[in-house]
């Protein structure tokens, strides 16, 4: 996988599309996943540079996925960007995220964040 690969894990398809477009605009290749359980499997196969992660997901929640990423040595360089509407949930994360964005997240805001991360990584 390339350095510019981003995984968007968000069950609201419209929001996932916006996040994906913002990351594409920042120069990333993207893959969209709408379900926690599928994300859990996919995270064992790919090496995303950025994961945009919703917390409230079907089957496996974002907090568990964050823990999976943080405990997987393969994903040591993966940046995790939490996208949630619930500030309280963001407070209760068991592992450290690189960035927490509170919804509503604007296209421009996310694109700017992703561009900065992309620059920092290259």
């Amino acid at each position: 996988m390339s350095d510019k690969f981003a995984l968007i894990i968000e069950d609201e398809e419209d929001l996932a599309t916006i996040f994906s477009e913002a990351l594409k605009a920042a120069g990333f290749e993207t893959e969209l996943i709408y379900d926690g359980a599928i994300a859990e499997r996919r995270l064992r196969e790919v090496y995303p540079a950025i994961v945009v992660l919703d917390l409230n997901l079907p089957h496996v929640d974002g907090n568990q996925l964050l823990h999976q990423i943080r405990t997987d040595p393969r994903l040591g360089n993966t940046r995790v960007l939490i996208a949630t509407a619930d500030a309280g949930m963001a407070d209760m994360l068991t592992d450290e995220a690189d960035l927490i964005l509170l919804k509503p997240i604007s296209f421009v805001q996310l694109r700017t964040m992703a561009e900065r991360m992309g620059l920092a990584m290259s």
Partner: protein, 417 residues
């Protein structure tokens, strides 16, 4: 009947032993035993018949054993009235007649035994007394019955009240349970509404922005203009929804502060960038003044402080047509920092100053149409400031502009640990 037979028997004995004097110790013991038995029986059975009859016979035997039987017809006859009174009180009013008849029988037997004429005035006296005690006891019984009735009624009323109280109590418990249930529902409702309303609004905003940034291809100036309106209206709707949700969260006690250390300059520049469009559109000025005493780094809920400032400054700009708004950051004392928002607007009438911080209130209904919104901005400001342990006040006079002051406790990073 048996007792009567015994009596005659003993009377005969006592007649036979008339000359012999029975030891007074023996008689005394007998009387004591009788008295104990009497008390025991009254206590044990509470039976008026037993008590009055026993009294009568014990007395009679005592007289017959100790003295001359004729004494019963003479000076001791008076004592026979006692069981009549006892029976009327302890048994039934009419029992006095039974005892009067027994007395008559006793003195008749005695009279026959010692062969004297039955003293008729005595017999009449017994019946007269029986009549009087019957009347007295009946009156007493009526009074007692009334009292008993009253008591029963009282008990009934107490019972009714107790039942009513228990029912009311149960209803309160049920109502409380329903309230708790409602509270849970309210929380659930809040999180659902928060998610369901904001998600589509964010999606609209996101897609409109993508179009605006020509992610999907170039746009004509007219298309850009239409998009700008879509985005502006979506933002307005999003802000209204956020205000409503904030108000609901505050009311439900679910709004908690997320305190962080942040630079004052960040707060100011974020506020300026949010407000700039409105300031430029209305051709007003916005001047920021920061006193040296204000620390460059503050501790608190940056997002909510931002919201407070933007709300107040927005409000000031909304009502100001000429001039502008000055924002002063300063330190009123060692333990506090404060912000004054001074506008050159129309001012707020004194009576309105009492309710401008109430939710859903605006100075007049025409203002709502002119300026739009729910009138929640100041209410949320006040509630947030209160939650932060601070205070918000207003000084204003019609035609002289308004000054809103927010005072907040200054928490140093050392103090918060």
């Amino acid at each position: 009947m048996i007792l009567t037979l015994f009596y005659t028997f003993y009377l005969d004995i006592s007649n036979a032993k008339e000359s012999e004097l029975l030891p007074s110790l023996y008689i005394g013991s007998l009387a004591m035993l009788g008295g104990i038995a009497l008390i025991f029986l009254i206590n044990r059975y509470g039976n008026g018949w037993v008590a009055s009859l026993l009294f009568l016979f014990l007395f009679t035997f005592a007289i017959v054993f100790t003295s001359e039987p004729e004494m019963l017809l003479g000076e001791y006859m008076f004592y026979l009235t006692i069981p009549i009174l006892m029976a009327s009180i302890l048994v039934r009013p009419w029992a006095s007649f039974v005892l009067a008849s027994l007395n008559t029988l006793i003195i008749a037997l005695t009279a026959q035994n010692i062969q004297v004429v039955l003293p008729l005035p005595g017999v009449l006296g017994f019946y007269l007394l029986a009549l009087v005690s019957w009347l007295t006891a009946q009156t007493m019984e009526h009074a007692l019955r009334d009292l008993r009735d009253l008591n029963t009624q009282l008990e009934q009323r107490v019972q009714e009240r107790t039942t009513a109280l228990a029912t009311a109590n149960q209803e309160l418990i049920n109502a409380n349970a329903r309230l708790e249930e409602l509270d849970k529902l309210k929380s659930r409702f809040l999180s659902i509404v928060s998610h369901e309303l904001r998600t589509p609004l964010s999606a609209i905003q996101g897609f409109a922005e993508m179009l605006q940034y020509e992610v999907y291809g170039a746009l004509s100036p007219k298309q850009h203009n239409a998009l700008a309106r879509i985005i502006a209206n979506d933002e307005r709707l999003l802000n209204l929804v956020n205000d409503l949700l904030d108000q609901a969260r505050i009311e439900a006690g679910q709004l908690s502060l997320v305190n962080v250390t942040f630079p004052l300059q960040g707060l100011i520049s974020d506020m300026e960038s949010t407000i700039r469009v409105l300031v430029e559109a209305k051709k007003l000025y916005l001047r920021i003044h920061v006193a040296d005493a204000v620390p460059t780094t503050l501790y608190g809920d940056q997002k909510r402080l931002q919201q407070i400032l933007v709300n107040l400054v927005n409000n000031a700009l909304k009502f100001t047509q000429q001039g502008g708004v000055d924002v002063h950051f300063y330190r009123p004392d060692e333990g506090h920092w404060a912000v004054d928002i001074v506008d050159t607007g129309p001012g707020i009438p004194k009576e309105a100053q009492n309710y401008i911080f109430d939710p859903f209130r605006q100075i007049d209904s025409s203002a709502t149409r002119e300026h739009k919104g729910f009138g929640l901005g100041l209410a949320i400001v006040k509630q947030l400031v209160t939650l932060m342990g601070g205070a918000v006040t207003v000084i204003s006079e019609v035609g002289q502009g308004s000054t809103f002051t927010v005072t907040l406790p200054l928490i140093s990073p050392i103090q918060r640990q």
